[in-house]
Symmetry: C2
Subunit: 553 residues, 2 copies
């Protein structure tokens, strides 16, 4: 059977599909079209090349057209843009930008991996020559050249997603003063606000100016500098501006061809990654996927899914019946000295889908060390676990911390894939030696803490819910030592150190609910157990003063 496969897009999804397809079908005719000059480049490395963390530009190019052809016998056509898909003829129209010619190419199967492009909305002044987006090699060269040939002392990054934050970090690395301007009340949308607060504090500690809940109204340029005027009227002057406020799928081609799209422009595919046309597959940033947790359609523009979808499509083209089971949105980013990682659903998504805290799901925050505290250099992580009630099914995890944060998120990510409950998490047998973990790993700890709630052994309350408490009916009990209290405390709390609680329990009012707080929640948990078993109504402030002070920092 003849098998001529055309692939549109030569980077993550496209190149992966081409390489895999060659391995599973030595005889297929494979043509890969890429409108840009480069294929197989490391999109994800671009910010680090700007910051000179990656010093060698050639490292960004994982493959060249020639090498890819030599290795995979794939006809790689760079600077060849597919301008139309003609579904009835099963051909594509291609514009060769080098020769200036247009031609047609027929296919048996077509793979669309056109990715997404950064948004560049029609904000007044957006065409100033020092306003860049960062998406590919030419963008990156442009930014790098601009920095090298201009006196860039001050930069503004519009958008606090992972690319914006990575850019801020890398510009800062170059000694450039940086502002981040973000419309939402937080950076790093995949995590919730309570977790983002740890990042905000850290970013500010690096002398990066963080402007939240404010958007760009206009850019005013004087030819050298550009002033960002925000909706609230702030004026932020910068020599360089990076725009990274989101992406839109490159699906115009698909739309014009009559393929089914969702309302965000994402190509709709079935679970074999086939579009509404039986000869056309699509993968990567351009498609809609199923949210693995909530089973609703979503778009997750990340490299892991794109690469794996590319591989899967190749298999399906040669007759496999592989199913794509949805995307969890597992992701990670380095934010200066911290790591932020997450998997599964966050609260914002759950709430948008109508799920209610306390009714449908619960969250805990714990703050374990990445490894044994007695071994040098333990790093505390802030670990939020979201689980369904009453089933205990793990819905998501978010961690902000140092080394080992990515590890715990990956362990939860794997567990989620198997439908884990918090009861499963406490049983996981993870590797322990002092430099790597503790006898009870943070993931186990999260499991224990969650099970203690599900089993009815403790009730918890979140920092954000403290404000609405009636002081007549509630009492905040701080069970830290008095020395710790001098470092900060929750207004209105009374202090009885945990080790004195049994003796001083009579000082407490049995008619009030006792909200117990300590540094992270461990001593408060012990206190809650003492109190409830002695007839008090008590709740543990989840995450303790660490969570509280981060939330209100």
């Amino acid at each position: 059977m003849s098998n001529k496969v055309l692939i549109i897009g030569g980077v993550a999804g496209g190149a992966s599909a081409a390489a895999r397809l060659r391995r599973v079908d030595e005889d297929a005719e494979i043509i890969m079209f890429e409108r840009g000059e480069y294929i197989s480049f490391a999109n994800c490395g671009l910010p680090y090349y700007i910051g000179n963390v990656i010093d060698d530009r050639s490292k960004l190019l994982l493959q060249t057209p020639e090498a890819f052809n030599a290795r995979f016998n794939v006809d790689v056509r760079v600077q060849n843009e597919v301008t139309a898909i003609n579904v009835t003829d099963k051909t594509v129209t291609v514009k060769n930008h080098v020769k200036g010619e247009t031609y047609e190419e027929s296919y048996d199967k077509l793979v669309i991996s056109t990715g997404s492009s950064p948004l560049r909305p029609p904000i007044p002044g957006i065409d100033a020559k020092n306003i860049f987006t960062i998406w590919n090699i030419p963008d990156t060269d442009g930014i790098k050249n601009y920095i090298e040939s201009h006196q860039v002392k001050k930069a503004a990054v519009i958008g606090g997603g992972f690319i914006g934050v990575e850019m801020a970090e890398n510009l800062h690395e170059l000694g450039i003063e940086v502002s981040i301007i973000e419309m939402a009340n937080q950076v790093m949308a995949p995590v919730d606000f309570d977790m983002a607060q740890y990042l905000h504090k850290h970013i500010e500690s690096k002398d990066v100016d963080l402007v939240l809940e404010d958007g760009v109204k206009e850019f005013i340029s004087d030819g050298k500098k550009t002033t960002v005027v925000t909706n609230t009227g702030k004026h932020i002057e910068a020599d360089l501006i990076i725009l990274s406020i989101g992406v839109r799928p490159n699906s115009q081609l698909a739309k014009d061809a009559g393929l089914k799209l969702n309302d965000r422009g994402g190509i709709v595919v079935d679970d074999s990654l086939l579009t509404s046309d039986p000869h056309i597959y699509a993968v990567g940033d351009v498609i809609e996927v199923e949210d693995y947790i909530n089973k609703v359609p979503t778009m997750v523009p990340l490299a892991g899914p794109a690469n794996k979808q590319g591989r899967m499509v190749a298999n399906n083209i040669v007759g496999a019946k592989e199913k794509y089971n949805g995307t969890q949105g597992t992701s990670v980013a380095k934010v200066f000295d911290l790591t932020v990682a997450n998997t599964g659903a966050n609260e914002k998504t759950l709430n948008r889908l109508g799920k209610v805290y306390g009714k449908d799901y619960l969250t805990i925050q714990i703050h374990p060390n990445n490894h044994a505290g007695y071994y040098p250099g333990p790093q505390q992580m802030h670990f939020k676990l979201i689980f369904e009630i009453p089933s205990g099914k793990v819905l998501g995890a978010q961690i902000v911390g140092g080394e080992g944060s990515d590890k715990r998120v990956d362990v939860v990510a794997a567990s989620i894939r198997f439908g884990a409950t918090v009861y499963d998490l406490k049983e996981l047998e993870l590797a322990y030696a002092p430099p790597f973990s503790s006898g009870k790993d943070p993931v186990n700890m999260a499991g224990f803490t969650a099970c203690n709630i599900l089993d009815g052994d403790q009730e918890i309350i979140r920092s954000e819910d403290l404000d609405s408490l009636d002081p007549e009916k509630n009492l905040i009990l701080d069970v830290r030592t008095s020395v710790e209290k001098t470092l900060g405390y929750i207004p209105g709390s009374i202090n009885i150190p945990i080790d004195e609680l049994r003796d001083r329990i009579s000082e407490l009012d049995k008619n009030k609910t006792i909200i117990v707080s300590c540094a992270v929640g461990v001593r408060a948990w012990i206190a809650v157990r003492i109190l409830t078993q002695k007839g008090f109504k008590a709740k543990n402030l989840t995450g303790g003063f660490t969570a509280y002070s981060a939330l209100y920092y």
Copy 2:
């Protein structure tokens, strides 16, 4: 209901049980007996304290008897040794070593967490004062004092288990010349020989003298130095000798009380961790557990299981019905600059149980980087995956590498807990950004590689099987570049770089099986696909020249 619980042993399992029991039962009477002077100490940190990596002795003491009592209202009795369990009376006999008195204490429930002790076999000369075992704080103080008060220039560590290797590393850290003497053909028994070879090479690169397949015949001391005389007649002179050749469970008490033991002296418990006596539970190093993979009895003296069993027993004492589902043997150790980690079954165990490579299970070796190669400081890991055939069920994983090795083992460890197959591994959605991983994580890669075999797309062969190949029927084809070949190659192999293979395929003999080898197996996989689809019989040398050269280094 009165609840008087006695706990024998005040460290990992015992102290965990006591702390948890107090939380679940504020009114229980809890007495914890510890024959030594210390409770809750960090056994696992002891080698690092010797090496001054942990500089503060007090950090090793996670709890003191006083603090533990203040926090948990547990009657902690150090230097109180339980000398008998009287099951009919439900009492224990206790020797108070401070007062020199003996007394009895009654119980409703008893928890045995007496741990294990290092073996000290009756080798001639073993009582020399410079021969130490390392198990607790006094041992550690003894070694540290000896080093400080004697001119220790040369040490010999007998036994290459994780404690022996950690001790070797820490003594080396102090500038002491070290020999490791190990009876088996490898260090670190939890991994197989092929993986241990990476460690051997690394240990020797640190100028540690590694003596394998040799045991100690006798020790000859001159009052200052001791000479280790080995079975093969080697004489190794040392100022200090650390004996770490294994442990035996501290089960004499249980044996005398008539509790059921296995033939290695391990206390037999049911899945609620109850011994053969309905009032006595046992946890930790002293018990027999079920091997999670093979469902056979085994003993796994590790802190993770001990801590979790201690917690579980406390729950069961107050009426929970928690089941202990077995131990996978997940473990990790730092070996100088490398990490060695493993989970599940190794080949040695499988073979002992009669499982045969190629019939019951297969193994692959891959060598991915811990993170994107273009981001600074990628570290290659050596990753062995063991899986059942034809089901693909993951049986075990072993990794020797740098940073991130523990992460991948933990991800596989979690997956194993859910009965994962290699098909599941390829789907796991793990966190990717350049500093942390690749779009296809090493765990995914292991999944892909294994599935390629199960799906019939490639056959593999192991380095150790090359010797037995008939050169008349087989040909070793090296598809690396000729430059790579100058760094070493498999004797008898012919070289056709992968990118020339399609053009030069006619040079190959179709009557022979082509064993394809490259650096790690990736290019060989591509070659295997080309060859088999062109009518050749081909096999991939798993792990490539990296595995081969490590095996025969």
